[in-house]
Amino acid sequence: MDLSPILISAKTAAVSIVFTFFLGTGAAFCVYRMRHERWKILWDGLLTLPLVLPPTVAGFFLLYIFGVRRPVGAFFLEYFGVKIAFSWGATVLAAVAISFPLMYRSARGAFEQVDRNLMDAGRTLGMSEWQIFHRVLMPGAVQGLLSGGILAFARGLGEFGATAMIAGNIEGRTRTLPLAVYSDVAAGNMESAGRYVLILVLISFIVVTGMGYATYVFQRFTRRESR
């Protein structure tokens, strides 16, 4: 069995979740800070949209944006000398694009349930908005963020359609586990496919239950005493 897809997938999932986490959280924060409920609802709608695009189609769009001949892709190539399409980076790009809405929505919910009085308290104490963000809001939302992170991680780990489109399927470079599974399944190599699926499922299972356990422990530590 070829081990490279496992490594690539692990790397991709690990790196992409970092981006997804920060982008999703950042977007959620921006919307959270908006004054008018109407704008919030509108942005909520917009930022959930990528979810509705079939990944393969989303992959096309990415290709039309980041392809070497397209403005953004050309820009990257010219000024940074990075070719995005067909590089390992593209697997990350695809995973981030596809899992973003999940992270965004979870983070929005998590922020919304933080006690606004805590933030107001920070303000009257003279804490800057940034200090309030990272010392009050983030710690208060941490559980929801973790749970969103798990969803996004799992989705990113299993991402296939967009990845194939923008990153290609180059063995040892961009062939992630889902691509390898697909290839085997399509060819009828069910045994090999089964092994890959097992690994995919195992990684995800370990991460998901691991995080679940961590959250549980964390909860026990800081939860308000039940009255």
Binding site: L118, D120, T124, L125, S128, P139
Partner: protein, 347 residues
């Protein structure tokens, strides 16, 4: 010195009031939901009034006319939240340090300051505890220490004792009284508990449905509430609508009795109030004014006090509350009220 004159549209009613606090502590007494917290939040810069002006000492914090609206960070107004709003993810020491972040001191200076405050607020040994693991009183002290750390020039206290049982409350009030004496800036204390206000505040403002009903020295206000809302909020248990029956005489509709008053009844008087402690048993045959024959009563006792509720025997109506010392053990047949103790009230 704090001076505010603000108005703001709320969901059910409009906030529209003005007040001034100078040294000492101003109490704001009002029923639940009358806009007390809103008022404090407007002063702290957490909600924005629609119109008006707020000044602290010689700084303008807010002026709708001149378009001034300082952010809360710059107002130097400390706010003790109704449930303290301690950061649950920070220890006691870290919570206090949060109040120091504004001043760009270095770590060691900050730490020293925190230690000082911990000693001052008697939080030694709790430095590394999380807020959920300390008692209500300790939480309050931590919240206060945090405000003092932030170098506030004016402190707003929003029902600081509402979260504790009477067991703790008294101790905490004592402690706060000491703090108020030591603090040089001005303080505002919001509460729906008259005892609290009475113990801690030199002046008191009574609020009702977003408006300032009356504002005066606390002592004066409790002795002579003058307004119906003020009487009710300062704990006057017996209140009745009245009709003027003479210069020194009114007819109380709710109890169906005629009462003599100590002061002259002006035309604007609509109600009278009688404190439960001012209802006294009338010895049989003794010649006292405002004598009322009463029906057998409900009786409740607390450790050092007795409460009786009776009705007018001749014309039963609303209940009349009487409180007295534990030492007296007889339920009277007749009660009396000194005319000077009858509070004349306007609506």
């Amino acid at each position: 010195m704090l001076r505010a004159d603000i108005s703001k549209k709320l969901k059910n009613f409009d906030l529209d009031l003005r007040f001034e606090a100078e040294g000492g502590c101003l109490g704001i007494l009002g029923p639940s939901g009358c806009g007390k917290s809103m008022t404090l939040k407007a002063v702290a810069g957490l909600v924005r009034p629609d119109r008006g002006q707020i000044r602290r000492d010689d700084r303008v914090l807010f002026d709708s006319g001149r378009g001034i609206d300082l952010p809360p960070q710059k107002r130097k107004v400390g706010y003790l939240f109704q449930h303290y709003a301690l950061f649950p993810n920070m220890t006691v020491a870290q919570n206090i340090e949060a109040g120091l972040l504004r001043s760009r001191q270095d770590r060691s200076a900050r730490r020293e300051r925190v230690e000082k405050l911990i000693r001052r607020f008697r939080l030694e040994g709790l430095e590394n505890q999380y807020p959920t693991h300390i008692s209500g009183g300790q939480q309050q002290r931590t919240a206060l220490a945090r405000i003092f750390a932030s170098d506030a020039k004016c402190i707003l206290l929003d029902e600081p004792f509402s979260a504790m049982g009477s067991y703790l409350r008294e101790e905490m009030q004592m402690e706060l009284a000491r703090m108020i004496r030591e603090f040089e800036g001005c303080m505002v204390l919001v509460s729906h508990d008259r005892d609290e206000i009475y113990r801690l505040c030199g002046r008191t403002m009574i609020m009702e449905k977003g408006r300032d009903v009356i504002c005066d020295q606390t002592q004066v206000l409790f002795d002579q509430p003058r307004k119906l809302a003020a009487a009710r909020l300062t704990g006057c248990k017996n209140i009745s609508r009245v009709q003027k029956a003479g210069d020194f005489q009114v007819y109380a509709d709710d109890w169906n009795v005629m009462l003599r008053t100590g002061t002259k009844v002006s035309d604007t008087v609509t109600h009278v109030g009688i404190r439960a402690h001012d209802i006294l048993p009338a010895a049989r045959g003794e010649d006292v004014p405002n004598r009322i024959r009463v029906l057998p009563a409900e009786k409740v006792s607390s450790p050092f006090e007795w409460t009786l509720i009776f009705q007018n025997r001749d014309h039963p109506g609303a209940g009349i509350w009487m409180k007295s010392d534990r030492s007296q053990h007889q339920i009277p047949d007749e009660v009396t009220v000194d005319p000077s103790k009858i509070l004349l009230l306007e609506e």
